[in-house]
Amino acid sequence: MIDPVLFSHRIPITRINAFSDAVIALAYVSISLMLTYLVKRRRDLPFPMLFLFLMGALFACGTVRVIDVWAFWHPSLLGPLSVVARGTAAGLSSLAAVLMFLVIPKAIGMRSPSELDLELQKLGGIVASSNEAIIRGDLNGKIEKWNAAAERLYGYPEHEVIGKSMSILDPPHHDLQLTAILNALKHNPRTVHYETRHVNRSRDLIDVAFSVSPVYENAQLVGAAMIARDNRERLRLLDTERRYTKRLELIHRLDRMILEREPTNTCAKLILEFMDSLGAFSRMTVVSPWFESGKYIELIDYTNGKFTENTERSWLPFADTPFAATFQQGSMHIVDLSCFGDIPELSPHKIAGSRFVCHSKMIVRGEVIGSLNLAAATADVFTEEILDHIRELSVQLAVLIQQESLWKKIDQHAVELEEKVEERTRELKEVNSALEAFSYSVSHDLRAPLRTMQGFTEALLEDYSAQLDATGQDYARRIAEGAGRLDRLIQDLLRYNRIGQSKIDSCAVDLGKIVDEILEELAADLDRQGAKVNIDDPLPVVLGHPGTLSQVFSNLIGNAVKFVRPGQKSLVRVKTEPSAKGTVRIWVEDNGIGIEPKHKDRVFQIFERLDAAYSGTGIGLAIVRKGVERMGGQVGLISQLGEGSRFWVEMPKPAEVQL
């Protein structure tokens, strides 16, 4: 850079020089004035101090030139002034140079206007091409910016809305006024999200989701940016989701109802109510069972919010329609009722104003058990989603109907079973009462003639023995004995029968007492035979029936005494042995003739007699076994021929009483 001041000293002053100095001075001053103007107008100008110093330096230099020109004519006058002006110019220029030196690195780092412009274009492009409506308003809600997406969303072109209030987007009587939102923003500047409805240019309501954020300039809140988006698709998805959730809840509820055995119609009504909440169906029906004969039962008809149950109807005549071929196959069809012409079977549909019917079959193991039918005036009601619901709920209905029919079958089986049991019980009772009548008759009528035979034979022997010789008396005795044996047989048989028939209520019975009573009854027999009976003291308390126990032990002890070799004195022992848990085993042992082991089961059979030498009916041990078994016990035998017999009876013990 050439310093104009130094330059003027070296070059001889001429007029030309003076003129050029004047021009330079003018330029310096005007530059400095323009800089001053620039700094004053562009308050955001970077490095204003540098500009001020530059302005000062240029102004001082200009002043020096003016003095130089002045000195051309009056050189003597201006000596001191020139020195001051030059000094000032030198100082200010040096300061400007130093400042310049300091500022340059910063200035180099600054973005150029073109760069800034590009940046702005980029940002503007984002806003312009955004799919979301971006609107900027001032704090009073006046619209300042409006992008293309906003125009698409609301219908207003930019030039129509700039400067207007944002409240043009609010629907009338709206509780979420945009101006109110902006007011709130002033007090609490933060980004807030909303979902609501706005009105567009054609005054239609549109679902929108939007956020409002504060906009600052130089840390000063100046307005708000609103970003809005069409919310309809999202709401639609949410609605769909809600419907599917509702369907799931319905299915769960139906499952519980199935478990509770709620009637099918109650459940089917819930399904139809759900379907009704989905769309504009003019008529809905659930059909089951399915008759091939041309008739069917409509379990439920839901028309205009009214349920009708169990109506018999006739099939639509499909044969002459375009559906004839496909109707037998597949599980779901949409039928256009106008194909049927004017027929009486259509009347329920006509009343409801239906034209299209979606007919969904319920199929269980390949068998059609019913159908779900939904009718509507137009075909577009049957969206993919609706069809999916119909399909799914048809399955649920099939489960319901199948379940009910299974329950019905079970109930019917139960009833049949009960009837069978009743019939068997009745038969058994008849047999029982016949048996009772029989044994009653036996005990009365069969014994009477026997008693007559016996009675008169003995009367004969008593009253007319003088007239009968020994053979005659022997014959008469044989008649009496025969009659007596037959009577004992009959009595034993009646006892055996009674033990099998009568009700046996078990209770705790002291066996010791029972056996004592038996010994008292047998006392005469025992004395006559010289028999000896040893009884364990004490005998246990068992769970049984006193009368039956008495018969059992009376027979066992009686047998033990009876079956001894002639002349032998019988020795009988009754003892107790601890046994399995809850039972007790009682032994009746003798020193009698014994029984071969191979006969140990036969002896308990009725009419089984092993030795004709001993009198008896062959019923005693059969009574023992039957009696013991009826009391829940067991009986058995250990014996060898000639070595005595050991009979055992195992009886339940009464439950321990806690004292």
Binding site: S443, H444, A448, G455, G484, D487
Partner: protein, 147 residues
């Protein structure tokens, strides 16, 4: 007048054996026999020929078989116990049945004693001897106002 026992028994043989036993046991009582339930009722109520109490005196006790034609022994028993005038008549069942249902029923209807016909004539004689001793000699009967 000898005290009389009324025997309701349809079996001729039994009647014969009982009469024989009465004789054997030297019972002084007279015996009148009716062969069915209705006969017993008629006798006790003095119907028809039984109206002649000189010929058919009112009995001191009745031996009653259960299996009787026309009216069973239990029906006769029930009927007697419903007649205010004669309901205190001692009635002793003498039957061949040992069925506990018969025994229970008879006692429920108010029988005074229940005897089962013994099998041998000797036992029968002993039984009727005891019967006589007990009911005719030892037992104190209540007044009966019969027709």
């Amino acid at each position: 007048m000898k005290s009389l026992v009324l025997l309701a028994e349809d079996d001729d043989n039994d009647v014969l054996l009982i009469k024989r036993a009465f004789q054997k046991s030297r019972v002084a009582n007279a015996i009148e026999v009716v062969s069915d339930g209705e006969g017993a009722v008629n006798y006790l109520s003095g119907e028809g020929i039984y109206g002649d109490r000189a010929r058919y005196p009112f009995p001191v006790a009745m031996l009653l078989d259960l299996k009787l034609p026309r009216k069973s022994g239990l029906e006769v028993l029930a009927w007697v116990r419903q007649q205010p005038e004669i309901r205190r008549l001692p009635i002793i069942v003498l039957t061949s049945s040992r069925e506990s249902s018969d025994i229970r029923h008879a006692y429920d209807l108010g029988v005074n004693s229940y005897l089962v016909k013994p099998f041998t004539p000797l036992e029968l004689t002993e039984m009727l001897h005891s019967f006589n001793l007990y009911w005719m000699v030892l037992n104190e009967s209540a007044d009966i106002s019969y027709k």
